[in-house]
């Protein structure tokens, strides 16, 4: 599993208290007991961590874990440095990247 997916799993387990064995790439967020507010919170968490303009208007709990990861991949420029770039690096974020450094 790449960095984005590893981090996503960590967030789901550590912050959202999802049992680790339930977190698969195919799992839908609703099946992980994330309601609509929790999904927006997840997007906010990822937005801050990766410093990307993740649009929570697209967030819904029918998405799978992999759907979310692919959206993050896209914003990080996945095919170049994205997966291994680590959090909060302005250089790897695309144009219009989020406001200010992550973890501020």
């Amino acid at each position: 599993m790449d960095t984005v997916r590893e981090h996503l799993k960590t967030v789901l387990v550590d912050k959202f208290e999802v049992p680790a064995d339930k977190v698969t790439l195919q799992a839908r967020l609703t099946d992980l007991d994330l309601d609509s507010l929790a999904v927006v919170e997840l997007y906010l968490t990822l937005q801050e961590h990766w410093n990307i303009p993740l649009d929570d208007g697209d967030a819904n709990n029918e998405l799978t874990v992999d759907d979310v990861a692919r959206t993050v991949d896209g914003l990080l420029g996945a095919d170049t440095a994205g997966h291994d770039a680590g959090p909060g690096t302005e250089q790897t974020a695309g144009p219009g990247a989020g406001p200010g450094p992550a973890h501020a």
């Binding site: 507010l37 919170e41 906010l44 989020g98 406001p99």
Partner: protein, 409 residues
């Protein structure tokens, strides 16, 4: 005739420790837990009394901790301990017959402040969708706890500043008296150790400025008192009619023999200098209990360590109990001022004093001044005492006075 209301369980999460026993040991040790607070660094008064080592994520009783304000996490932990103490299992009760009344001064203000800081820094994108569900005072306490426990009876939130927890207990008694429920869970919580609250209380002159000696800062009724120490915490009490407790084989720890609430109509934050509102509340609670001042063995005072509160409260105690002075203690010497939680924490401690026949000492009291002399304050060490009837005073900004009369079963 009204059936007596009994307390069958208490849960405590306080600056003295997580849980009833940790808190009891801390107050009996009589040493203040106040200290310098790194999160308040740079503010005029960087002192606080925080719940030590509180990590809700590590507590099995607090699920979905990430959704909640710190005040809610404290309350959930206290609630689960209280239910266990009372021998209640949520699966076994009729959830429609369980009421829940909570109190706090400031709801989820910690969340509100953090969210606003993020908003100012990064704009609307940084605002959590849980900002309001964590902050709204009703949700931050009664709402989330009812959800957590699956309660479908009446649930509501009260706010009378630092009397909120006691007001919750009184309101819950009303629900039991009117047969609105069989069991009432009542308590208070607050997590107001925040930069904004600390700055605002300092500006009002309410906080002790003894920053060079934090553990001596909270000193109720002492001549050198100069304000309170900002604290956090939660307590929950399980209340039920005596017959209900008897029927399920629960052991009553204390009886809520009487209670009363009054308002000063004097000043927004200063107590009536003569303590007239408090005096009327003591009268009302004793009348409802069918008791007189001569029956009162012990008073768990509000005792904030501010010059004005302790002066008015000592005046009332001295004047009302002139013939047979009760023992007096003030838990805020050890725990600091836990705001809306204080009334519930001190009600729970009074219940434990009755049950364990022990009055904890008041920390940092060395010498009274002319205003606070003449009351029988327990100091230095726990005092063994059989208590037939005790009063717990709670006063709040806004001129709220509440008195609970708690009796041995």
């Amino acid at each position: 005739m009204r059936d007596a209301i009994v307390v069958t369980g208490v849960g405590l999460v306080t600056p003295g420790g997580i849980g009833r026993e940790a808190t009891w040991q801390a107050v009996c040790a009589g040493r203040s837990v106040a200290g310098l607070d790194p999160e308040l660094d740079g503010l005029p008064v960087p002192l606080s009394c925080r719940v030590p080592g509180f990590d809700a994520h590590a507590l099995p009783s607090v699920r979905q901790a990430w959704r909640y304000d710190r005040s809610t996490r404290l309350l959930l932990a206290a609630a689960h301990e209280a239910l266990e103490h009372a021998g209640l299992v949520p699966d076994d009760w009729d959830p429609a017959r369980v009421a829940l009344v909570t109190g706090s001064a400031a709801g989820g203000i910690d969340t509100l402040e953090r969210t606003y800081r993020a908003f100012l820094k990064s704009g609307a994108t940084a605002v959590s969708p849980h900002a309001l569900t964590a902050f709204l005072p009703n949700l931050s306490a009664a709402g989330h706890l009812a959800l957590d426990l699956g309660l479908t009876g009446p649930s509501l939130h009260t706010s009378t500043a630092c009397a909120s927890g006691a007001t919750a207990v009184i309101t819950a008694c009303g629900l039991l008296d009117s047969d609105g429920c069989d069991i009432a869970l009542a308590g208070g919580t607050d997590a107001m150790v925040t930069p904004l609250c600390a700055a605002a209380f300092a500006k009002m002159g309410a906080l002790s400025r003894r920053t060079e000696d934090p553990s001596a800062a909270s000193r109720p009724f002492d001549q050198d008192r100069d304000g309170f120490v900002l604290g956090e915490g939660a307590a929950l009490l399980v209340l039920e009619r005596a017959a209900h407790a008897r029927a399920r084989g629960a052991r009553p720890l204390a009886v809520v023999a009487g209670h009363s609430s009054t308002s000063d109509a004097h000043h927004a934050v200063a107590p009536d200098p003569q303590g007239r509102g408090l005096r009327a509340a003591v009268d009302g609670a004793l009348r409802r209990a069918g008791a007189t001042v001569a029956d009162v063995d012990h008073v768990n005072a509000h005792g904030t360590s501010t010059p004005l509160n302790d002066r008015a409260e000592a005046l009332v105690i001295r004047a009302m109990f002139a013939g047979r002075p009760p023992t007096v203690t003030a838990a805020k010497g050890v725990l600091g001022h836990t705001m809306g939680a204080a009334g519930a924490i001190e009600a729970a401690l009074t219940v434990l004093s009755i049950h364990r026949e022990t009055v904890p000492p008041t920390a940092n009291f060395h010498k009274p001044d002319a205003d606070t002399e003449g009351i029988d304050l327990v100091t230095a060490a726990p005092h063994r005492q059989r208590i037939g009837l005790a009063l717990s005073h709670s006063l709040g900004f806004g001129g709220h006075n509440t008195v609970l009369a708690l009796a041995k079963p």
